[in-house]
């Protein structure tokens, strides 16, 4: 067939199909066939010539030197670690829409992400998720321009509108609140923010007269922050000087995989194990399910869930009893523990054995090792904090650390010094659970307009919190997210943000280094789509209000320049800071303690509560942060969907890890589909027999099971959060996501089929066929 006139249609004449980018599991087989047929038709039309040649070439918007790569700094935004990036940027051709016309644009494109060698956190390295972060920018289901909801809430249909129209809408709503003197009805629900974004959002809300933003993250760290504030006076995550440690005792912290600052930890861990000739530190991991980190340990201590704190105090008891340390060494951290000064008489090894399931002799040995092989450090993270006694557990481990005097000492615990830069600890911010409960109990929602920033509580909260129901009661929701997910599909208006590669980014890392760090980087590439950077949108909204808010900056860039100009070392000009990807102190610094001291909470229980009676629900249910998707917010990235689990090699769906002996007793073999039932709900997933899990625990990775989250994540696997109980840690309101008990039953057949796919067996099959 020739090109040109004979072609029945051109690709550019076809209606744009990606108007909403909605991908949900509601697509049944018939719909799928219809969609395939439509795709077939498109393919026939495109068959008249390469689709890319049917597109016009647009005039480039920037000068380019083709074939020459440049390296630009940026900051990874996928998790809270805040790794500095080095982005390889080179010319390329992108399919874009400009002035309503699709075309090919030659432009500078980010091609590859690596760690920024100068950055104190990442030091030139990057984790697997960071490597895949580039796909967020080029994702085919990205929201490309403002959308307005046209159908029933949550059903999907959206209409593309212009930025001007969209912003007028928002401004009119906010003016409406202001004229009714009801500014407190503006809500802001966000993923935890740091750096100047946090400053801007709190200023915006404060000047408008709205309550502080509510931050939500499934695996949030509020419990540990609160415990560290009480024990040490720092409301932040700890930094471990692993490189100089000689003994590491980790309570559930998957610090090499998903917790805190994994890249910085991995670098230091390498030093600790192999960097010092003749010295190889010992590493003991305490957790009921062996994580990727646990698999690296010299010793695995499968403790009973919720009793990690008891074990820590058991160790402390032995250390005190055998006079390896004096109780006063622990200072304030020790005083917070009942019975500390009298030697923790309630935690004699025999008693601790009964509670934790760890043999008394082993407790004695571990205690001696911990106290005698200094510098030693204990850490706690992940599931042990996600119990109703999370604060107690963290305080117990803090006291153990303080007892061996490792706080601020080589090989011990540090707190990353943070440059001030106007950031304030959010006071008065209420946890999502309380906000949802308030909305549900009121006749009409106290929040009339909600700004939703890149967080997905519908996916990440237990059914008992009724987050979706609460959100549906809010009359007007504006989302800034780049993708449609279970929460943003409820929005009335979507104002898509740039990807982090297209916008000014900044971050103040909470942990991972002993230096003071404030990262910042300009955009590495021009925006592909008609998106706008959310901070700039907030500034614009603030100016367009009837009573403009007095924010002193015209753009976010101006704000960043002002903030970084105020940093102590004047010798670092703004240009140099941008060029290297941030400002950092020359050498480790000391962080001043936050002064707030709260009265001791004497009613704190040391026992964890669980939802479900052991007779009805014999197993502990342990969801865990997936190596690929963390809390599920990365499930839209196809490279991560392809990534087999590091330990089990399972992939492409969900699975339930169960101990082989338990499985044998229940007549379960690998691959059998199991029904996991809690008091809150039921889910199905295939069984994966794993010797690295305690007999009374079943575990499941979080991340799959999305209903709506791009073509790659929707309708794949199941979401363990959907059967979690609504229990929370009482002092912080944080979800106790490890506090649910379940029962397990084997299903004779499952519809639809729910196979277990292991990368190792895929390889085995290949070998057989060869």
């Amino acid at each position: 067939m020739s090109q040109g006139e004979e072609c029945p249609g051109r690709l550019r004449d076809l209606p744009l199909l990606e108007i909403t980018g909605v991908h949900t599991t509601s697509m049944d087989r018939r719909d799928f066939i219809k969609a395939s047929a439509a795709a077939g038709a498109t393919a026939t039309l495109a068959g008249c010539g390469n689709p890319e040649n049917q597109l016009i070439r647009l005039i480039p918007e920037e000068p380019l030197a083709p074939g020459i790569a440049t390296l630009k700094p940026s900051i990874c935004s996928l998790c809270a670690a805040g790794c500095g990036l080095q982005v390889r940027v080179m010319d390329g051709e992108a399919e874009v829409v400009r002035n309503g016309e699709p075309g090919i644009l030659q432009m500078a494109l980010a091609k590859k992400l690596e760690g920024n060698p100068k950055h104190p956190i990442s030091q030139g390295k990057l984790c697997v998720r960071g490597q895949a972060a580039i796909q967020a920018t080029y994702h085919p289901d990205r929201i490309r321009q403002p959308l307005r909801r046209t159908g029933a809430r949550g059903s999907g249909p959206f209409q593309q509108i212009s930025w001007d129209e969209a912003l007028s809408d928002v401004v009119a709503r906010l003016d409406g609140l202001a004229s009714a003197n009801n500014q407190r009805a503006l809500g802001f629900l966000t993923r935890p923010l740091r750096g100047q974004r946090q400053v801007l959002v709190s200023l915006f809300l404060q000047r408008f007269g709205a309550p502080p933003a509510t931050a939500f993250e499934l695996f949030g760290e509020d419990v540990l922050r609160e415990a560290n504030r009480q024990s040490f006076g720092y409301a932040q995550l700890p930094t471990f000087d692993l490189a100089r440690s000689r003994y590491v005792l980790s309570f559930g912290a998957d610090f090499l995989g998903t917790w805190n600052s994994p890249v910085a930890h991995s670098l230091a861990y390498g030093e600790m194990r192999q960097g010092r000739p003749g010295i190889r530190a010992k590493f003991v991991q305490v957790e009921p399910r062996m994580s990727q980190t646990g698999a690296n340990a010299d010793e695995w201590v499968p403790v009973r869930p919720g009793t990690e704190g008891v074990l820590a105090l058991g160790l402390a008891h032995v250390i005190l009893k055998d006079r390896l340390r004096n109780h006063s060494a622990a200072g304030r951290a020790g005083e917070l523990i009942d019975g500390w000064s009298t030697g923790l008489q309630g935690f004699i090894p025999a008693e601790v054995e009964k509670r934790t399931g760890i043999a008394a002799a082993r407790i004695e040995r571990l205690a001696h090792e911990f106290a005698e092989h200094g510098p030693a450090v204990a850490m706690i993270g992940g599931a042990p904090l996600a119990h109703t006694n999370g604060i107690f557990q963290a305080l117990a481990v803090n006291a153990l650390n303080a007892l061996v005097s490792n706080v601020g000492q080589a090989g011990g615990i540090f707190f990353t010094p943070r440059p001030g830069m106007g950031a304030t600890e959010a006071t008065g911010a209420r946890p999502l659970r309380d906000v949802a409960a308030e909305i549900l109990s009121a006749a009409s929602s106290p929040i009339q307009v909600l700004f939703l920033n890149d967080t997905n509580p519908v996916f990440g909260t237990p059914p008992a919190w009724r987050a979706e129901e609460a959100l549906r009661k809010i009359p007007y929701i504006v989302s800034f997210g780049s993708f449609l997910d279970e929460t943003s599909i409820l929005a009335d208006l979507i104002l898509p943000d740039h990807s982090f590669l297209e916008s000014w980014v900044d971050d103040v890392p909470e942990a991972g280094t002993q230096m003071s760090v404030a990262s910042v980087a300009p955009p590495v590439m021009r925006p592909l789509h008609q998106t706008r950077s959310t901070p700039d949108v907030l500034i614009e909204i603030s100016q367009r209000l009837q009573r403009p808010l007095s924010l002193q900056w015209k753009t976010y860039e101006e704000m960043l320049e002002a903030a970084f100009g105020a940093l102590p070392e004047k010798s670092n000009p703004w240009e140099k800071i941008q060029e290297q990807g941030g400002w950092w102190s020359e050498s480790p610094m000391h962080q001043a303690q936050t002064t707030r001291v709260s009265p001791r909470n004497s009613t704190r229980s040391i026992d964890a509560q669980f939802e479900g009676r052991p007779e009805d629900y014999p197993f502990h249910f342990l969801p865990y942060a997936s190596q690929a998707f963390l809390d599920g917010s990365l499930a839209h990235l196809p490279w991560l969907q392809e990534l087999p689990d590091v330990i089990t090699t399972a992939m492409w769906s969900s699975w339930v890890e169960i101990n082989p002996t338990t499985a044998r007793n229940l007549g379960i073999v690998q691959g059998d589909v199991l029904e996991i039932k809690s008091s809150q709900g039921t889910l199905q997933a295939p069984a994966l027999l794993s010797p690295g899990i305690a007999p009374d625990v079943v575990a499941m990775p979080v991340g799959q099971g999305h209903q709506t989250f791009t073509r790659y994540a929707s309708g794949r696997g199941s979401n363990p959060v959907s059967i979690l109980a609504g229990l929370a840690e009482p002092e912080t309101g944080a979800l106790a996501w490890a506090a649910t008990r379940v029962r397990v039953a084997k299903l004779e057949k499952s519809d639809p089929p729910n196979p277990l796919i292991l990368f190792s067996t895929v390889l085995g099959d290949e070998a057989k066929h060869r």
Binding site: S2, Q3, N53, R57, A65, G67
Partner: protein, 205 residues
């Protein structure tokens, strides 16, 4: 061992069929090109294993590249001889990087916004410019991806190799045409003549 002879004869048949098909199709393909407007043909700029048609796949397989037909009859001759422009005035990055770069419309426009504005070819350019479009120049030189050849202009320019050596005398051309056959022998013989490296990995990597 069983069936080996059969396999061999199948191969022969297959090759014969492929040759017959390719001859047939390439004739059809040449026919189809005649008398057509200058629509762009595939340039493989965007990575895609797909071809728009079977003839294209076959001609791609045999490394056959159709003579490019440019959207505007650009006259190299006038620009070089009469306006006295240097190659690098438009092909900016030839001395800096691997790709000489085809100038985008802004480069042309920097002179032609005011020069020869009534010339029919310049009007075509103005049409593109007014619509916010770049000129869809077609690629003249280049290898198919399967040959895994990489070429970097910059070291050749540094060495003082005349552009003519590989591109012919462009100062006598209107639009550039492939007057030199860039075979491996062409590259290697020149490299040997000048004592340049001739390891495989110099170009194939």
């Amino acid at each position: 061992m069983r069936g080996r002879g059969g396999t061999r004869s199948k191969w022969k048949l297959g090759i014969l069929a492929a040759i017959a098909l390719s001859v047939f199709v390439s004739f059809r393909y040449q026919d189809s090109l005649k008398g057509q407007p200058a629509t762009p043909t595939p340039t493989n700029n965007v990575f895609s294993p797909a071809h728009s048609s079977l003839p294209q796949a076959i001609s791609h397989f045999f490394g056959h590249q159709p003579e490019p037909r440019q959207p505007i009859a650009f006259v190299h001759k006038v620009h070089v001889n009469e306006v006295q422009m240097e190659c690098v005035d438009c092909h900016f990055t030839v001395a800096r990087g691997p790709i000489a770069s085809i100038p985008d419309i802004r480069t042309c426009w920097s002179c032609h916004a005011t020069t020869l504005t009534e010339h029919p070819e310049i009007r075509k350019m103005k049409d593109y410019y007014d619509k916010g479009q770049d000129i869809p120049w077609q690629r003249v030189w280049g290898w198919v991806e399967e040959s895994h050849v990489r070429f970097n202009h910059a070291p050749h320019i540094r060495e003082g190799i005349d552009c003519k050596n590989c591109h012919g005398d462009v100062s006598e051309m209107t639009v550039a045409t492939r007057v030199v056959d860039h075979t491996m022998e062409f590259c290697v013989s020149c490299h040997r003549e000048r004592n340049a490296p001739d390891d495989c990995v110099t170009c194939h990597y």
